[in-house]
Amino acid sequence: MKFLLKYSYRNLWRSPKRTLIMVLSLALGSAYIIWVLNFANSGSKEIMNEFLTQYAGNYQIVHPDYYENDKRKFNNFKTINDDLIPDKTLFEKSCQRVTAPVFISGEKKTLGVLLTGIEVEKEKLLTTLPKAIQQGNFLSSSNSNQIVLGKRLAERIDIKIGDEVALIGQALDGSIANEIMQVVGLLDFGGGDFEETLAFTDINSLRIFLAMNPNSYHQRVSFDMKREIPESFPLAKIVKWTEILPEISVSIRFIDNFTWLVSIIVVLVISLGLANTILITFFEREKEFYALNIIGARSSWIGKSLFLEIFMMGTLSLGLGIILGLLATTYFSYHPINIQMFTGGKPIIMGGMQIQPLVKFYPVTKYFWQVPLLIYTFLALTMIYPLFRVMKRSKYAISAH
């Protein structure tokens, strides 16, 4: 075995330039795949992080009947309170919200919006919503009946900062709810749909508007991105963001799957090129194999030596590829990539909101073994044909002799 290893190793370096090109192409290919998978993974995480911390949250705790099967529809009469959530540690990184589909009237128009009552101070801590204020100020917890709304909505109903808007909706006791609120700020979501369909006020004003119990609310939205999402409780249901915003989740999954598809294509292309080179390398040494056969080497021994040769080359390439991949990934974890490079500098609008994620790489350990395994598999497959041809020719040569 020792001899076989030495023999294969020496064969590998009999044409160093060629081996180097093969090693480099495989190493660069594997490094690229490791890098691109880490990029896709980190990109998805960063985009989601940016998107979810702005407004949507990682998951919501709601009344079991609050959402219908189609999560765009909800039953506003189903409320919960903190007593129904046994795990009080979840409160730290979550905030209560009250929602009300209302009609908002300006001078000339009345439009439907989803008015959300928020815990102002906590939202300032946990979300980036206040950063979306383009004009005016965000809500203040000390003032009631203030409202912030989207820039586009304000344009449509012809409202400016300081103006008053009339709100009409249905209270939870079945009565018609109405109120006048003062516009204190305008939100800029980069022209996304939410600029037209969302408005925010403080939670207590909306509770009064809806004739609600002071402790009850519709959603407890968690912004804890690190902790595992808990299971539902008997009287309060956990609804993940992927269920509330399936279109965003599908888009992210689509990009992830596309990245794997590209990786497989790259491996396939490299493998085909390698198979070609391996085939030529093996055929070049046909006379040598023939000589080896004559002095007593069996075809299986030759096959083993060739297999070892490729295995060594693969290991060397993959080792180099892993190091290069790790270096590239580590570099981009300190120098994040702006995802706008893919959109020609245009901001990304997702789920009705504008996001500007900088992709900071987080190396994923599994890619550092999954990619080499994938390449080894393809490498083994590409070897089959050249090896089979060499063994067949070798056998034929012996019998002819």
Partner: protein, 411 residues
């Protein structure tokens, strides 16, 4: 066509390719596979983007919208313009395939089942037919006529949400041209099933006569508009459209300006594809460089002999270039054949991506995202295929010829 000498060299190059047919096939196949995969991905995204674009323009958006300036800025409908004969004339010519002068009113309905905001579109039923096939998508009742009074066509989603049927009436609440709160009883003449659920829930159609009567409080017999969504072949006519309406106190917006979320999705796909193509290009060039170089270097003795016989380096380059041309012709023909078959079949059958969301249809930014994607084979892809094959083979061959001739010179 070729001079005698070139003819001979061309033949010689062909024989060289045939000298080791297995290897030549292998090289050609490597390039072909990479090209087929790359172009397939491109055509897949072209298909997806085309479907997204279609879905957006069919949500009453059109490829372009000609908007009255005040409406364009604030969606204030109170100052509509008249559809003049000159405008009609312009819109009936190329590049326009259809248009619909629309008056837009934001209203709402409130019933025991719930309340929702609506966009009430005042249309001319006859002209509208050329723009969107709503009249052909009626599942119950019939489409409105220009002389109907207070009749409306609503979407299936709205009907099922409020349990409405044909012949039912409902109260539409809105603010009229003076800003006064008004309510009108409208009767449902038809129910359509078209585009996404959010589209069906949001848009209702009435004729211009009713719209003008309830909002402007008078009907002057003219066709008015706040906006005219127009259908063209695609967005490429943007320059032409803008030029036609410049200095006319009208605002032209493309669907990308009207639905920026989906426009960015398309830009993102475009960026990803470019990145992918660069990677594939580098990979395939690197991987075929070695076999091509070996192919040339093993002919070193033969080249030496020919060199002794008086053949210059210039002629070796010529042979090499003829070899590349032949390889390009072979690889690109095979690639184009494969692509035409694969994409031709898949553009009919589609590629099902519904498994990504357990078969549930997804709506984003008001449009229904396609679950089955139909790859699109376009002329540009064929040019691109040729370009890609040329580039990859040229780089590999030129590098290999250069290295081999350098070695020959050293010897």
């Amino acid at each position: 066509m070729l001079k005698n000498e070139n003819k001979y060299l061309f033949k010689f190059a062909w024989k060289n390719i045939q000298q080791n047919p297995g290897r030549s096939v292998f090289i050609g196949l490597s390039v072909c596979l990479a090209v087929v995969l790359a172009v397939w991905v491109v055509s897949f995204f072209d298909g997806l983007d085309h479907q997204i674009e279609q879905a957006v323009v069919n949500t009453n958006t059109g490829y372009f919208q000609i908007q009255e300036p005040l409406f364009s800025k604030t969606t204030d409908s109170s100052k509509p313009l008249a559809l003049t004969d000159a405008l009609k004339e312009k819109l009936s010519q190329k590049p326009y395939k259809g248009y619909s002068p629309e008056l837009v009113l934001d209203g709402n309905i409130s019933t025991p089942e719930g309340a929702t905001g609506l966009v009430v579109l005042g249309i001319d039923p006859a002209i509208q037919k050329s723009f969107l096939p709503i009249s052909k998508s009626i599942i119950s009742g019939e489409f409105i006529h220009s002389k109907d009074d207070y009749s409306v066509v609503i979407g299936q989603e709205l009907a099922s949400f409020f349990k409405f049927h044909v012949g039912d009436t409902f109260v539409l609440n809105y603010q009229d041209v003076k800003g006064e709160l008004r309510s009108e009883i409208l009767s449902i003449k038809g129910i359509y099933h078209y585009n996404s659920k959010s589209f069906e829930k949001k848009f209702i159609y009435i004729n211009q006569k009713t719209w003008q009567t309830i909002f402007l409080n008078q009907y002057n017999g003219q066709i008015l508009f706040n906006r005219i969504p127009v259908m063209t072949e695609n967005l490429s006519s943007e320059f032409e459209v803008k030029k036609q309406f410049e200095n006319q106190n009208l605002v032209i917006k493309s669907w990308k300006q009207l639905n920026p979320e989906m426009a960015v999705v398309l830009e993102f796909h475009n960026g990803m594809i470019k990145f992918f193509l660069i990677i594939i290009g580098i990979t395939i060039t690197m991987t075929i460089m070695t076999p091509v170089q070996m192919l040339w270097q093993e002919r070193l003795r033969e080249l030496k002999m020919m060199n002794i016989l008086g053949i210059s380096s210039r002629k070796f380059w010529k042979i090499g270039l003829f070899e590349v041309i032949q390889m390009i012709l072979l690889s690109s023909s095979f690639s184009i054949l494969c692509l035409t078959i694969i994409i031709g079949v898949q553009s009919q059958t589609g590629v099902d991506f519904r498994f990504l969301n357990d078969g549930v249809s997804i709506e984003r930014a008001g449009i229904k995202l396609p679950g089955i994607i139909y790859p699109k084979l376009m002329g540009e892809q064929i040019y691109f295929t040729l370009l890609f094959v040329c580039m990859v083979l040229m780089i590999s061959y030129c590098w290999s010829i250069h290295r081999t001739l350098k070695k020959l010179g050293e010897n």
